[in-house]
Symmetry: C2
Subunit: 213 residues, 2 copies
């Protein structure tokens, strides 16, 4: 019995250490890039013995796979939460648009965690590239479903991709120009654009093109 | 006299070797990333002796600065050409939009050369980041001028940034999904959007939101 408890304790501790390594690696990959982050950089942050580290992960590629897996799980959870919290499809799409605002401090410094990881893995021709791209696919399918529910079945995928593309571009430019005001201005325009699609207000003018000031 | 000719010859040869190194580095940085490309990778492509290589560049950072300087010069030349070739401001903005089509094979594989370099340097907190961002600024100022000439002085900068952001996002997603059709679809939408702003057709509907099919 005692040995059983101890084994359960070890199992929990192992699981927490593993989660700790993944979290540290995720942050380092996001802030400094996958290529630039070394195995030792991650070990230094986690502050565990090299032996314990190797017990969990043999290579940086193994850690990358675990980071992507964790991000996919977290994204699924977030999308499910938005689905439940948002009364209407437009409310849910607004949850997506607003992550740019919620994460603006990081976006301004490091860009989008999904876009910059996928771009880097594409250049490295890394075998985990298709797995990382699934992060985009999760958002794409989820947004497509929301636009379809708004009555835009015919171009739901095009609208989803357009919104994804715009968010990506906003993150890239906000990071280059370190400009939060730009994020807010574009988010406002996206919300106006969405309101037109959701017919929340009558289409009186090309809101998408209007001066945000 | 003979020695003068020889010195001129050496000078030309030096200049060509330098340009060759910069061109090779530019391609490698674009295709595989700055961090991933080593000094030796560049030397291997250029196929010159290590001594000759070091005569031109001491560090990879020196090469990066030369790559950015060359890109800035090439961008200025391209923008001047568009300015001359385009009869109206809208024609010139269309030249910008169409680089996504002209470079779609590379964009699909490696994303945008400007966006991906700036994103990587931001993560590396690299001292050449402000210089690389000037590439974006060149496009921003040039586009802003064209939108102002279209009579949109009040929001010329917002329109320029919006178009830049959208192009960046299209490049990021086209690279993740390896999708040329998506590039063409978005380019068509951007051209429709521009035509509305330039009042090349009467504003009968929200073209930006319309189904591209």
């Amino acid at each position: 019995m005692g040995s059983g408890v101890s084994r359960t304790g070890d199992f929990m501790k192992d699981k927490m250490t593993r989660a700790h390594i993944i979290e540290a690696a995720d942050q380092l990959f996001y802030r400094h890039g996958y290529e630039h982050t070394s195995f030792s950089d991650i070990a230094d942050v986690v502050k565990i013995s090299r032996g314990n580290f190797y017990y969990h992960f043999r290579t940086k590629d193994d850690i990358l796979d675990a980071v992507i897996e964790t991000r996919l799980a977290n994204t699924r959870t977030m999308l499910e939460r938005w689905e439940i919290e948002g009364e209407k499809p437009a409310d849910r799409i607004r949850s997506f648009i607003h992550i740019l605002i919620a994460n603006r401090a990081d976006v301004k410094r490091y860009g989008c965690p999904v876009g910059t990881l996928c771009s880097e893995l594409a250049k490295l021709n890394h075998p985990s590239q298709p797995e990382a791209n699934k992060l985009f696919t999760l958002f794409r399918i989820w947004l497509r479903r929301q636009f379809a529910r708004l009555g835009r079945e015919a171009d739901a995928d095009a609208l989803a991709m357009h919104l994804l593309a715009l968010s990506q571009g906003i993150a890239t430019l906000a990071s280059a120009f370190h400009d939060e005001r730009f994020i807010k201005q574009e988010v406002k325009q996206m919300c106006d654009w969405l309101a037109e699609i959701a017919q929340e207000k009558r289409p009186r003018e090309l809101v998408h093109l209007s001066n945000p000031d």
